[in-house]
């Protein structure tokens, strides 16, 4: 049997989505993690809780509120319409925005933990050596917290690949735009085409296993968690 053209299209779309989301999450998540790790602000608790929400909320709840928020009457929808880019649901970029929310804790938390584990000392030393803030980040924090970033990138990527409920709620199942692998598998099962479903589902299991295997064995510090 093997993969159909529609399967390949879904796989390619999923990889594109997950890669883009991972890059965006590292860019957005790093400053948030940095702030959460070092601040003594009374906002630390609330911000940390908001970031962690997708860990506990059912994806349908998140998807439903995203659908309302990004719809024509929602605040995000009115904002995107006023910018002239239209509405986000049923588009690739809608999935990107949703996935960034959904996978955020998987990226922020490992980076935050890694930075917290560094402590103040290396940064103070660097500061006495006249390293500026950017210099301190790139030559001290980044190398020392590398395992945290590695874990964050892999978990963010893998979690986006495995996303289903949110995509189902705001995707609209459009081939090439929002029909990702998990939705394609769901369709096969619903249509009782179990043979095709097995191909994709088994590939997904193997892929996820290899990703996690890489995470547990290749992590630069060999740090187990």
């Amino acid at each position: 049997m093997g993969f159909s053209d529609a399967d390949l299209q879904a796989i390619w779309l999923t990889l594109r989505l997950a890669s883009l989301v991972t890059v965006l999450l590292l860019l957005i998540g790093t400053p948030i993690a940095w702030w959460l790790a070092r601040t003594h602000s009374r906002w630390k608790g609330p911000v940390g809780a908001v970031v962690a929400l997708p860990l506990v909320l059912p994806p349908t709840v998140l998807g439903f509120y995203l659908l309302l928020a990004m719809g024509p009457n929602g605040p995000v929808g009115q904002f995107t319409q006023s910018l002239g880019i239209g509405l986000l649901p049923f588009t690739f970029w809608g999935l990107v925005v949703a996935s960034v929310f959904y996978s955020m804790p998987f990226v922020v938390q490992p980076i935050q933990n890694a930075i917290e584990a560094l402590g103040e000392r290396p940064l103070e030393v660097a500061a006495t050596l006249r390293a500026g803030p950017w210099d301190r980040f790139f030559s001290v924090v980044l190398p020392l917290a590398k395992p945290g970033f590695f874990t964050a990138a892999i978990l963010g990527f893998a979690h986006t690949v495995g996303e289903f409920g949110v995509v189902l709620m705001i995707g609209g199942n459009i081939p090439g735009a929002t029909r990702v692998v998990s939705v394609q598998i769901y369709d096969y099962v619903e249509a009782m085409e179990y043979g095709q479903a097995h191909w994709l589902a088994a590939s997904m299991v193997i892929f996820s296993f290899l990703v996690l295997l890489a995470l547990y064995t290749l992590n630069p510090n060999q740090r187990k968690f």
Partner: protein, 251 residues
């Protein structure tokens, strides 16, 4: 201080004697039939003393679950194919299948002014997204595709189509305004016998194959009094009135 204990004893007696006569039937129900099923289950409990425990979902999922030993005793499917397939595989009490409802397709918009003159709104093509249920898995989706083809607008609509995984999600896309209009089940937009909100075009039945929804007793329900009683109740006038009031037809 004796009263509470006596009351408790009476209550226990009532529970025991009731459970001796009344049984519970596990019913798997197609998502589009959620609202009528709730009313039917209520009436069934009142009239028969049995309880109908309903699980709502898609026919495809129920098929997979039933094949793998789910404890359902009756299936109210959204189509005729799933019960037929189960029957062919020996997973039903054979000969118990019948059509309990025929679905009506409706083109619906949450905007009260959008659909003024029936199907012409499709030809004018002044909207962004048209929602349908997944034609591959949902009978209402397949019917919607047939209507688009019949009106010769399927090619024009292709780039505007968004698919809900089932008819409930399709309704959600339209009711939140994310799709301006969509093909949903008349039962979803019917309140007290007429279209509740927005604007709609009820698709003439001749434009697509009838959306026959079949019910069947499953192997688990074979010989169970409550399962048989529920099926009989579903064929009765009270249930039929409820079913019709939601915009379904009865064969």
């Amino acid at each position: 201080m004796q009263t509470p204990r006596i009351l408790l004893a009476l209550l226990a007696l009532a529970v025991v004697s009731a459970s001796a006569r009344a049984e519970t039937v596990q019913v798997a129900v197609a998502a589009n039939f959620t609202a009528p099923m709730k009313l039917i289950a209520e009436a069934f409990a009142k009239d028969s003393g049995h309880t109908a425990n309903a699980s709502f979902g898609s026919s495809g999922k129920f098929y997979a679950q039933i094949k793998n030993g789910a404890p359902f005793e009756v299936l109210l499917s959204a189509d005729a194919e799933t019960p037929a397939k189960l029957e062919a595989e020996g997973l039903t009490q054979s000969g118990t299948g019948f059509t309990y409802a025929i679905g009506t397709l409706v083109l619906w918009s949450a905007d009260p002014a959008l659909i003024e003159d029936g199907a012409k709104v499709l030809g004018r093509n002044k909207f962004r997204k048209l929602a349908i249920a997944n034609p591959k898995t949902a009978p209402y989706g397949a019917a919607a595709m047939a209507v688009l083809k019949g009106l010769a607008v399927d090619q024009m609509m292709m780039p505007k189509l968004v698919q809900g995984e089932n008819i409930a999600q399709t309704y959600q896309f339209v009711s939140t305004g994310n799709a301006e209009l969509g093909f949903v089940a008349l039962s979803q937009v019917t309140k007290d016998g007429k279209i509740g909100e927005g604007s709609a075009w009820v698709v003439p039945a001749g434009m697509h194959d009838p959306i026959r929804q079949d019910a069947v007793i499953l192997k688990n329900g074979e010989g169970k009094a409550a399962a048989a009683a529920f099926m009989e109740y579903l064929k009765g006038d009270k249930a039929k009135d409820i079913i019709r009031s939601f915009g379904y037809q009865i064969p």
